[in-house]
Every structure is written in structure tokens, then in C-alpha cells.
Symmetry: C2
């Protein structure tokens, strides 16, 4: 007897809230389109706001800065990763759990089920944009760092450790983030067609992880 309009509300979504989400989504879409069309630097916030017919001031009420709107999709994917990692069975080894969660994110993305706005092709374009835009790259790296802190928390909890005492969770989170970044970078740079889809990305990640041990080995001969 609670809700008059809808029987089941997964999220108690008022009309107001829905409108906000629509505006936010429109801003992300417009921004992405403009950034890819004419470049990040040559796109002004005014332009983005105008494309959605809101004031510049409103834009800054949704996003703290210009970088944030460009990285919004990525932020959703990272959120998904955290949820998947938390859901991994407790008896998996830490690194294994992370690798599998990462695989899952890409598979979900391939099915268009991540945050309703991401695609694999879009990810590729986004990575290219980020890597070729210094200020975006900087913001992205900082964001990645924050993600590492979250991952550290999850790992420590999984294993029942205090991350302030035991260095391993933080180290693994950091190294993992690094490997993922390198995979993304190679993915975005990679021009060979047989590696363009999700499978290409997944294979690339595996290759990087497999080289981690050898890279840290004493001798490379």
C-alpha cells in the first residue's frame, strides 16, 4: 500500500530524481560526442551545456570539473568492478579474484550491461582520448589511485588483514591497477584488427599478467 504509481520500485525514484538522471546522462553523452568530434581541449563547457540546454552553472552542479564528465563512464565501470570483486568467492586467491572480476567487467560491457552507456568500441575511443590528452590522463591516474584505495580495502577485508600493518593488499592493488592500465594502453594503441573486440582485450590482459612474474624475475635471459 505504499507506492501509488508503481507496484515495485527497485529504487524509490521520484519524478524529480529521474529528471536529474536524464540531464546527467545527456551531459555525459553530449560531452563524449563533442570530445571525440573536436577534441577535449577545443570543447568548452559552455558548448556542452548549450548542447543539453542547461546553463554552465548547472553543468558544474553535476560535475566538479570538465575532466569528471569525460571520465564518468569509466567511473561506472570501476564501480562495477568493485561490486564484482566483492562478490567473488572467498576461497579464491586474491590475484585470481581480481583477474576474474576484470574479465567479468569486460564481458558485461560487451553485452551492453554496464551503466547503460558503455560499449567496447566506446571504451577504445575513450582510452585513446585519455592517453592523448595530458590533463585527462592526469585526472584519470588520480582517479585510478582512488580506486586502488577501495580495492585495497576490499582485499584486506577478504583476507582479514589490517592494510595499515600488512603491505600486501595495497601492493597487490597497486600492481594490479598498473597492469590493467598497461593493458588498456596497449589496447588503445594496438591497431591490428584481430584484437579489436572483447576477446582481444581479454587476451591482452592475460598476456600482461603472464609476463608479470618473468618481469620481476632476477635475470631476463
Amino acid at each position: 500500500m505504499a507506492t501509488p504509481t508503481t507496484a515495485v520500485d527497485p529504487q524509490p525514484t521520484g519524478l524529480r530524481e529521474r529528471k536529474k538522471q536524464r540531464t546527467r546522462g545527456a551531459l555525459v553523452d553530449a560531452a563524449n560526442r563533442l570530445f571525440l568530434e573536436q577534441g577535449y581541449g577545443k570543447t568548452t563547457v559552455d558548448e556542452i551545456a548549450a548542447a543539453v540546454e542547461v546553463s554552465q552553472r548547472t553543468f558544474f552542479r553535476y560535475f566538479a570539473n570538465k575532466e569528471e564528465v569525460a571520465l564518468a563512464v569509466l567511473a561506472d565501470a570501476e564501480e562495477t568492478f568493485l561490486e564484482l570483486l566483492r562478490a567473488r568467492p572467498a576461497d579464491e586467491y586474491p590475484l585470481e579474484a581480481m583477474r576474474r572480476a576484470a574479465r567479468q567487467v569486460w564481458q558485461l560491457l560487451d553485452q551492453g550491461r554496464v551503466a547503460e552507456r558503455g560499449t567496447v568500441a566506446g571504451a577504445l575511443e575513450l582510452f585513446e582520448l585519455i592517453e592523448s590528452t595530458p590533463t585527462l590522463l592526469a585526472a584519470h591516474l588520480r582517479h585510478t589511485l582512488q580506486q586502488e584505495v577501495e580495492v585495497t580495502r576490499v582485499l584486506a577485508e577478504r583476507e582479514g588483514l589490517d592494510p595499515a600493518v600488512d603491505l600486501r593488499p595495497r601492493l597487490l592493488a597497486a600492481v594490479f591497477g598498473t597492469v590493467i592500465r598497461l593493458s588498456h594502453l596497449t589496447f588503445a594503441t594496438e591497431r591490428e584488427p584481430h584484437r579489436q573486440g572483447v576477446d582481444g582485450m581479454l587476451e591482452l590482459m592475460e598476456r600482461h599478467f603472464d609476463q608479470l612474474g618473468p618481469a620481476l624475475a632476477g635475470s631476463w635471459r
Copy 2:
């Protein structure tokens, strides 16, 4: 405090060049002082320029942006690291060479012989400033990334590998950078007095490196 001791001139510099270096150094000093006194965000470029009695426009001819002047000292240290790494004997294992070069940087810094402007205490303050200033942190991370590219080049050359084919140089450079960053972070956060000097930093780095293997091991139990 910052001692303006410019003693040795390796390159026969003209009067003009020397003057430029003096201005640049003065800008770095003034900026550092102001940033530490009142914070990065509350210090304007105008203020820094005024403190050295140059115009704002001149400031931007020396530094591409406000972040750069804050990270200038760090950039010198990283340059030193590269030189030391290149000078390591060719038969050292890659990771060993990097660990030793890193040790050397800190020892030189402790002797006040890095870029005439760095001290260990100053490094600690700088790290705190960076970690507590989002925009500085972002710039720092991007800069670190560039350093990783250079390191990759050096490693690949040492071992006679093509970094475009073999993933190991880049992976090792990245993981190394990550471990160094975590050490710095802990160093800046660490409040226990017995770890404040160079020895504290060196011990911290060793501890992080020693945990790298265990962190990547399958099980943590």
C-alpha cells in the same frame, strides 16, 4: 632553509644563462615557500611572480603551469635517478639495478647534492603537499608515468630488448614506479620519529620491495 649555494659550473655558461637559472631557482624557492606556508590552492601565480619581482607572463615562460613549479625539485631527482640507472653495471639484474639507483638518489639527496635545492626534510614536506592536493597529485602521477617510459627505454637498452615486443621492461618499470610511490606515501604519512631520516626512507623501500613477492603469491595465508 634553502641555501642558494651555486658553486660549480660544469658548463661554461654565459652571463645571460646564469641569470636565467637564478630567476628560475628563485621562482622555485618562492613557490615552495608559499605553497608550504599557505597551501597550494591559496597561492596565486601572481603572488609567486611578485615575490621574485617578475611579471606573471615571465613565470609562464619558465613553467608551463602552476603544477610544474611545485614539482620542479622532484623532476630534478628523477633526472638524477635516470643517470644513476644508466651508470649501473650491465651485469646487475634489472630490478637490482633500479633498487640500487633509488638508494643512491636518496643518499645523494641526504648529502645535499641533488639539484642544489633538495633536502630529505624538504622531500617529506613536498610529498605531504602533493598527497594532500588533488591537482598536484594528478600532475605528479602523470609525470611519474612519463618517467616510467624513460625507465622502460633504459631497461630495454640494458638488456638489448625491443620494448614494443617484450612486455617485461615496461611492466617492471611500472611496478617499480608503483612501489616507489607507495614508499613515498608511507614515508610522508609515517609519523614515528625513528623513521624520519634517509635511513627510515631506505628501510621503508626495502620493506616494500620485500613484500612484492609475497603480495603476488597465490595464497596470503
